[in-house]
Amino acid sequence: MSSTENTRTRTVVTGVAVAAPGGLGTDEWWKSALTGRSGISAITRFDTDRFPSRLAGQILDFEAGDHLPSRLLPQTDVSTRYALAAADRALADAGVTPETLPDYDMGVVTANALGGFDFTHREFSKLWSQGPEFVSVYESFAWFYAVNTGQISIRNSMRGPSAALVAEQAGGLDAIGHACRTVRHGTKLVLSGGVDSALDPWGWASQLAGGLVSTDPDPARAYRPFDADASGYVPGEGGAILIVEDAASARERSARTVYGEIAGYAATFDPKPGSGRPPGLRRAAELALEDAGLAPGDVDVVFADAAGVPALDRAEAEAISGLFGARGVPVTAPKALTGRMYAGGGPVDVVTALLAIRDGVVPPTPGTGDVPEEYGLDLVRGEPRELPVSTALVLARGRWGFNSAVVLTAATD
């Protein structure tokens, strides 16, 4: 949609909820981000002796029964429980109840990359050890990428246009972008975001199979994006849910908080390896800025994808310094505190960027020490950096070529 259309529907964020390691709840997460409290620790869910990587960003203080009715427990994977609880809190934050709008004016768009590994692993175990008749009928949907969208929709009577997106670690931003598109097409309110979790032995094996997970046993050193000695990433679990609304409709219902506007979004795909053409991340950022009607000079901070893998860090640094000039914009990656949360990572970055806009402070990238000079990055390190933030760019990449970018701006009214 052209950025020159000044009549275009504006989409704002009126409610947020984070479920992240070291930060269950938005305020807790923001405190963690600003103080550098890490959620990365030795995996406690299962015996990791036979795995080369043993650290993860774990949510350790979530009792499902405290957040959800027992009716939902036998049919939900841990990832869906986080998603449902976060959805409840985001709706409460936005002051939205099922009665706020007609069912069909409220949609749900979430992303998921891992499905319900933990649930499925338990059912497979029953299949092999006891027989097929012991496999739960709820396995039919509990594993599925669309289950968070479906369960949130059913629980909250949100029957407007809904979708589920899968694009590995870029999917969370794609969900938010698609939520905006849905609002622009006339749905007044869309609950969006992404949540992932796969910290069971089978889920863990699948994550390690990608070959990018750090084997460093030191929680303080294992995931150091953009560090000269970066050794891979640490997986995390969790994510964030946002309430995305038509700005006019939000005003009409006197929404109590407007965290900011989702001003632009774009996604690109990398060219075939060996083609000689550059990766697509920079182009995603450029297109998202164009969608927002903004120029690189308008951006106050970039939340990086921050793969923590040297070749990927270098490629991202080239995209950022190519677009903004060497050390041309503050860059940060607070996700080093949580690990990479797959479809949950982008939405948490979006919430964090909105809080940076609200409070005029950019949380640091913890742990990263020596950033190669040739990266040309002004990486916020050590302490939070106070600066007025009116525009933030959030980047995410998914394995095998997905690139997504979201531009957030301060609310204008």
Partner: protein, 88 residues
């Protein structure tokens, strides 16, 4: 075991599908509809699988779809308890 009691059914329903927030399954629910009790067709299919494991009675999907109340379910199961299950 020989027959399935209402308490057995309560235990199985709660184990397989939890409890609905607004409903008390501990009371006189024999003639309440499963719908009013908050149990949908999937909840009943899951419970049927457990009933088969415990009581040896195989309820088809059609059986499950036709059953409205705990009384109807108990009557069907107890009318079909297999000799093998009784013997065990």
């Amino acid at each position: 075991m020989s027959t399935m009691t209402l308490d057995d059914l309560r235990r199985i329903l709660v184990a397989c599908a939890g409890e609905d927030d607004g409903t008390d399954v501990s009371g006189d629910i024999l003639d309440s509809s499963f719908e009013d009790l908050g149990y949908d067709s999937l909840a009943l299919m899951e419970s049927a699988a457990r009933i088969k494991q415990e009581f040896g009675v195989d309820l088809s999907d059609d059986d499950v779809a036709d059953i409205d109340t705990p009384r109807a379910l108990l009557d069907l199961v107890n009318g079909r308890v297999s000799p093998a299950a009784v013997a065990s």
